[in-house]
């Protein structure tokens, strides 16, 4: 029997007549509409979704669609056949991608609802009008300023550095005894003691921005948010590889380098250069009617980072972190200033280094726990940081246990031949057609690809595995029937993009060495949380939510991450992707002193478990060094997917 179908796409309509049981994808092609089928029409990717607005179809599979989607008529064009006359809407790609049940996108940063400047903020702008001195009033400038603070603001004690003190007289006069003071409340609880950060002539607009920076010093990636402390809004987000990478990929090799002659100074300088460069870049991103923003206008910086990064940044010897009994020099650094630490912010700026727990659980994790909300979760929640140090926290509002394992930088795109950070030009998603082994990819910013970022690597590894480009051990199957599978300089490789499509003109490939690095990274992370859960006697299935953090992109496809054995095999709905939780925690602490105090409490509450105490981590690691895992029973959904792709 024949049926007539009407397709609507791009505001145009096209009709065809086709027999019963024709695939919607085929019918669309007859109607002149090409519905892309990245996975080769296998029902794996969900990218071919269309909406049946009228009429009768039969869906063979709806794997990628939610029930609500199906109720609204959504169907996979590659898995759905015609059973009667029908009207079909072919939506634009972006619209489909947003609907997929497997994709987790980081939420946009919003100012916390309870943020209230100046009450939440320790740094404030204060307008003062001083009585000019006269022959009758012979009070000195500094005492005059102190008096004004006391009488006009009830700040009893004011401290000030010598370099700033040297400028007070001229500033007071330049402003004709009207000044704007930027002050830091030293103890938010008493509000009487302040430190002078800056004194500016005249009365500045009260609502004009007051600049702060939230910084996460990652082993691999440094991330910086430039924040207007008055509104609480994030005005620029920038990131760059940590300049220390050139001197070692992981914290251990950095510590060793630092203990060599001059090594510590060099590493400190390298990370300062990276941050100072980011400060410039962030400031340039902000366009204001009042003029340019420069780093020296930044009056407060809150810094998160693992314990080693914090030590190296502050120039504190880190050697003891590496040696038994693994004691850092400092877990809770004192309040510091821009001048002391060497940042190109205002020299008097308040620099707040967040507290850590132990040598291998630093402020990046305490900040991450705060921003993930784990410390107030009712049910048992797992928080994974898919980063170089693979930190994991398990717990809820009553208890928190944590561990760390060296995963390496592969998911941040470092240590991978064509890896890159998740910025413009990065391939962030890949599908491989299982018949032709041809890939379809999506590039951040939409232009020509320059490399592959973390989320792209996860997708690529999973697709290569499911389509048989590589075996479960990660070996490239050189006998696979495609010119994209070839022998490269480092063993087998798969060509994701030919030179003619790429920015540099060179092929973008995934090599055997890359695969090994990715496998090691995912195995370490998986082993870390499984052993942690075992240690506290919590079966993974009873974990209510899995919160995934990491600076590998704005997005993660949880199904792909499960397929490579990075995440545990559970319903997709239990996963949440939070992006860089560390910088987000630093941001919250930058804004609100109550959040800052919560981080200190979290640091006190966390129990650290040392994984190297016995053999169990190594055992778990080698068994996870396989796709998806040596024990396939732990990954029933992947076993099923494999069976399907083999049949």
């Amino acid at each position: 029997m024949n049926h007539s179908l009407t397709f609507t796409h791009d505001e145009k309509q096209a009709s065809v007549t086709v027999p019963t049981n024709t695939l919607l994808a085929d019918a669309a092609r007859l109607a002149g509409i090409d519905i892309g089928q990245p996975c080769g029409g296998q029902g794996r990717c969900g990218r071919c979704a269309v909406q049946v607005t009228e009429g009768q179809v039969r869906r063979r599979s709806t794997l990628r669609l939610s029930e609500a989607d199906v109720a609204q008529g959504y169907a996979l064009a590659c898995q759905t056949v015609v059973e009667g006359d029908a009207a079909i809407y072919v939506p634009p790609q972006e619209k489909i991608e947003r609907r997929l049940t497997t994709d987790r996108v980081v939420a946009e940063v919003t100012v916390p609802e309870d943020y209230e400047y100046p009450f939440s903020q320790t740094v404030r702008r204060v307008h003062l009008t001083l009585t000019p001195p006269s022959m009758d009033d012979q009070t000195d400038d500094w005492a005059r300023l102190q008096t004004a603070f006391r009488l006009q603001r009830r700040f009893e004690t004011v401290t000030c550095s010598l370099p700033l003190l040297r400028t007070i007289g001229s500033t007071l006069r330049a402003g004709d005894w009207n000044v704007t003071a930027i002050v830091e409340i030293s103890r938010p609880s008493d509000h009487q003691t302040i430190r002078l950060i800056d004194l500016r002539p005249g009365h500045e607009d009260e609502y004009s921005p007051l600049w702060g920076a939230a910084i996460d010093i990652g082993t691999t990636t440094v991330t910086l948010w430039l924040v207007d402390l008055v509104t609480g809004q994030v005005k620029a987000q920038v990131a760059e590889y940590n300049g220390q990478i050139a001197r070692g990929e992981d914290v251990i090799s950095r510590i060793i380098y630092a203990s060599k002659n001059g090594g510590a100074d060099e590493l400190r300088q390298r990370v300062l250069d990276t941050i100072n460069e980011l400060l410039e870049r962030a400031c340039k991103r902000v366009k204001l009617p009042q003029g340019k923003v420069t780093p020296d206008q930044i009056v407060k910086a809150t810094i998160a980072g693992n314990t080693t990064m914090m030590h190296l940044f502050l120039g504190i010897p880190a050697a003891s972190i590496r040696l038994s009994p693994f004691i850092p020099a400092v877990n809770h650094p004192p309040a510091l200033t821009g001048r002391e630490v060497g940042l190109n912010v205002n020299p008097e700026a308040a620099v707040d280094c967040l507290p850590g727990v132990a040598s291998y659980v630093g402020a990046d994790i305490t900040a991450g726990v705060l921003s993930s909300g784990l410390d107030s979760a009712e049910n048992v929640t797992l928080f994974l940081d898919v980063g170089t140090n693979g930190e994991t926290v398990l717990g809820n509002r009553d208890w928190l246990v944590t561990c760390a394992c060296s995963a390496g930088p592969a998911f941040e795109g470092a240590g991978v031949v064509n890896g890159m950070r998740a910025t413009t030009g990065a391939i962030e998603e890949v599908w491989i057609n299982s018949d032709t082994l041809e890939p379809t990819y999506r590039v951040i910013g939409g232009g020509k690809p320059k490399g592959i970022c973390g989320s792209g690597l996860i997708a690529l590894l999973s697709e290569a595995f499911l389509t048989g480009v590589i075996d479960k051990g990660g070996n490239v199957k050189l006998d696979a029937p495609s010119p994209r599978v070839r022998e490269g300089a480092h063993g087998g490789e798969y060509v994701v993009a030919w030179g003619k499509e790429t920015e540099s003109g060179e092929d973008i490939v995934l090599t055997r060495v890359d695969i090994d690095n990715l496998l090691r990274a995912k195995a370490a992370i998986y082993a870390g949380f499984t052993v942690l859960a075992e240690n506290v006697g919590i079966p993974l299935e009873s974990v209510d939510k899995v919160l995934v953090g990491g600076s590998f992109g704005k997005y993660i496809n949880v199904e792909k991450a499960v397929q490579i054995g990075l995440l545990p095999d559970m319903e997709w709905s239990r996963f949440e992707f939070l992006g860089n939780t560390s910088v987000k925690g630093a941001y919250l602490a930058l804004l609100d002193w109550r959040k800052r105090e919560r981080i200190s409490e979290i640091a006190k509450r966390m129990t650290y478990i040392e994984l190297s105490a016995d053999n169990s981590f190594y055992e778990a690691f080698t068994s996870a060094l396989f796709l998806p895992h040596t024990d396939l029973n732990k990954f029933p959904s992947v076993a099923e997917a494999l069976e399907k792709s083999n049949s």
Binding site: K472, N475, D479, L625
Partner: protein
């Protein structure tokens, strides 16, 4: 008062694997060797008998090895220069089967010739090893596999980075493979999965967990083998393959066995020490569940054989 000995009942067992094919089975071997089949930890006769005795293979080479101990050169003599003669002598020395190790100098034609001459000289089943360089292994073993189609040779050595070609040619020509992983239960299991994923029948895989000689990590190898056997008995299908290990190769690498000069007098007689070293290494591995031990010295073969006889009969 009679004491009741507690017995374990395991859900799993070791697979039975047969090496070599007689003319009735499409090969030319006078006999075949069957190993595996165990249903308990090794030699717990009160739980179950040992269905197949561990077998002893003697290792010979396609060319006279220059780096072997003078003690081995002395006992094998001129036969070492001719694989066919060497094979005959090895059979006389009591080998249940042979390992023929090819060398990098061999061309595929040389390799085929050596294999044919060994097959012609004895009726024992044969294991053939490549020289241990991925490309060369593949080149030689493919030629050998085709030339000896149907003989149920064991081809080796498959490792996780190089197994596909060897497995494919073994499958196509009716041979078996030896799968070696570096002393780790998970890695052994992974390689077995990779090989099975290619479609290799499970009764044609031997696993080689790698071992060390006495004093050189043997106890580590021992415990890995023990754990593989436990996993197999517990029902893990991917560890249920018979195990082949190479105590001869390992023992004759050690200074204690290899060197006769410039060593403390307290070490005693060189030859006695060397043979002890090989024998003790092999026996420990047999006790931990080895199904095939590959040896080099005829005297060790004799001693290990006697000991196995006692273990199995007892």
């Amino acid at each position: 008062m009679p004491i009741e000995i507690p017995k374990d009942k395991w859900p799993g067992s070791i697979r039975t694997v047969t090496i070599g094919a007689t003319s009735a089975e499409g090969g030319t071997r006078a006999k075949t060797v069957t190993v595996g089949g165990g249903t308990t930890m090794p030699y717990l006769h009160f739980e179950a008998p040992t269905p197949n005795k561990p077998a002893i293979a003697i290792e010979i080479k396609s060319r006279k090895p220059e780096d072997w101990s003078p003690l081995l050169a002395e006992v094998w003599g001129a036969a070492m220069a001719d694989p066919a003669q060497w094979a005959k002598k090895a059979e006389e020395a009591g080998a249940d089967l042979l390992v023929l190790a090819l060398t990098v100098e061999d061309s595929p034609e040389d390799a085929v010739k050596a294999v044919k001459s060994v097959l012609g000289a004895t009726g024992l089943p044969l294991i053939v090893w490549g020289p241990g360089q991925a490309e060369k292994d593949n080149e030689l073993l493919v030629a050998v596999a085709e030339a000896a189609k149907g003989e149920r040779l064991v081809l080796g050595i498959c490792e996780d980075k190089n197994y596909r070609t060897i497995v494919a040619t073994a499958m196509a020509n009716g041979h078996l493979v030896q799968a070696r992983a570096p002393m780790d239960v998970n890695l052994s299991k992974q390689l077995n999965i990779l090989i099975s994923d290619m479609g290799m029948p499970k009764d044609r895989i031997l696993m080689d967990p790698t071992t060390g000689a006495l004093g050189y990590g043997m106890e580590y190898g021992y415990s890995v083998m023990e754990r593989l056997r436990l996993a197999a008995l517990q029902g893990d299908a991917m560890t249920q393959f018979p195990m082949i290990v190479t105590p001869g190769f390992e023992a004759w690498k050690t200074k204690e066995a290899k060197v006769g000069e410039g060593i403390p007098e307290a070490w005693g007689d060189w030859k006695a020490r060397a043979i002890h070293w090989e024998t003790l290494t092999a026996l420990a591995l047999v006790e931990s569940g080895a199904d095939i031990v590959v040896l080099r010295h005829p005297e060790s073969v004799k001693r290990v054989k006697d000991a196995i006889g006692e273990l199995v009969v007892a």
